[in-house]
Subunit: 82 residues, 2 copies
């Protein structure tokens, strides 16, 4: 079965996020108010063949640990669509 | 009220996505099988003050159109958390 997977990889809380700060300032300069805590990372989407959604989730977790995220500086979250 | 917002900005379908192709090849090289259609973009998260979730959604849509996404080459999706 084919599952569509959405992965988000974001800088770990507390680490510097200069890209996020730049966007926060740019939004303020464009007169968007009340914005805070901007964090920017990677959105990764793909399709994966697996026997079940649980298997897909486990497989994608291994991909994140081995390739998609930097375990020292980044956190990831995985969403598997049926 | 404060809403937590998750935005995904991804290259429009049909456009070249060299970063996605590189990751697809790298996953194959790591012996992850059955992966296809890898697309890579930006994950943007922040908090926004708004009167309602609908208002927040509309405000974030304008941010995407004006700053966060390139309307020619990228699509965006917005999720607002209560």
């Amino acid at each position: 079965m084919k599952f569509r997977v959405h992965v988000r990889v974001l800088p770990r809380a507390g680490l510097l996020d200069p890209q996020g700060q730049a966007v926060e300032h740019a939004l303020a300069a464009l007169k968007f108010g009340g914005i805070s805590n901007v964090h920017i990372g990677k959105a990764i989407e793909f399709e994966v063949n697996a026997d079940s959604a649980d298997r897909a989730q486990a497989e994608v977790k291994r991909m994140c640990e081995q390739l998609l995220a930097n375990p020292v500086t980044e956190d990831f979250s995985i969403a598997v669509e049926g």
